[in-house]
Amino acid sequence: MDKSDRPTGLGFFGAVIASISHEIKNRMAIINEQTLLIGDLAQASVTGRELDPGQLVELADSVKTEIHSADQIIKNMNRFAHSVDNFERQVDLGEVIDLTAVLYNRLAGMRRTQLEVHLPPKPLVVNTVAFFLMNLVWLCLDTALERIGKNRTIHLGCEEAADGAIVWLKADLIENDMADAISQKDMVDLMSGIGADAVFIPERNQVRIFLPADTDLP
């Protein structure tokens, strides 16, 4: 089994930060243009051009919205950065999956694909390495995105299992299945890092990653 070119470890960390930086740059570009436009309109009013207060209010509101978006992106970046604190620890699986989906959303959007997240109604606490789990889910999302068919929605969720928890991913795939993907070395290494096991169920187009309750992490 060959190692693929997909990012793992530090490569994954870099890929996520690069994606976040693009998002922030885009928000800043909008804020830049809109505030400068407000300045241009004010300047034009000095030379006699009529000022539309409604337009100014709309621009100012939009700047506020963009600043809020940028702030949220930075908060998510901070959550991701802290996923490497205390490598092995108890985490709310729903929060980890939710953060992974939020971070991946931009890349899915670039391929006109929706990411739908299905979380349990109450916290689902597991003992795992959040960073490795996020990396594993990210690779599954990447693989699904490469193979997705006409219904461009990827469903991602987690649920309680008899003796642990399950993270699942489901998508309408057009080529191959994901059995070969999840048996590749990078995936296997990540799974072993968190004591997990994964299976692909072709009839359901679903990957299920099982996290045992009493795993001894390396």
Binding site: H22, E33, L37, M110
Partner: protein, 142 residues
């Protein structure tokens, strides 16, 4: 004569604000929020410059640049990006982009680039017209 520019970016708010600012500076501005729309507009109209976002959904800017140059070899494309890496810049220039600018970009700087784009485009169009004229002369004699 007014410079005519096509702005291409998937962020509509960015297109609206930059478009309004360029128009207030006397440019004639068209906008497209997707690669497909941009290529469709370019197949109908000629522009002095295209300001093109490097990263857009479904088709990246380098691919769009290639297709634009196929439709309109004389069009001058200025690539706009969040991160102007040297590698991407070199690839873009090799494929025929006129320039490569990092967001957020100063509008006076962009306006200056658009003026230069128009001058360059006019030289290319003049040369193309001259070649066509010479071709006609060769075929039908003096």
């Amino acid at each position: 004569m007014t410079e005519k520019v096509l702005l291409v970016d998937d962020e509509k708010k960015f297109l609206e604000a930059m478009g309004a600012r360029l128009e207030s500076r006397g440019l004639e501005v068209s906008t497209a929020d997707s690669a497909e729309k941009a290529l469709e507009i370019l197949s109908r109209e000629a522009f002095d410059a295209v300001i093109l976002d490097l990263r857009m959904p479904e088709m990246d800017g380098i691919e769009v640049l290639k297709r634009m140059k196929e439709k309109r070899p004389e069009v001058q494309v200025i690539l706009l990006t969040g991160h102007a890496t040297v590698g991407a810049g070199v690839e873009a220039i090799k494929l025929g982009a006129m320039d490569f600018i990092e967001k957020p970009a100063d509008l006076d700087f962009i306006s200056d680039k658009i003026k230069k784009a128009k001058e360059k485009k006019m030289l290319i169009v003049d040369r193309m017209n001259h070649e066509r004229f010479m071709d006609v002369l060769k075929r039908y004699g003096n």
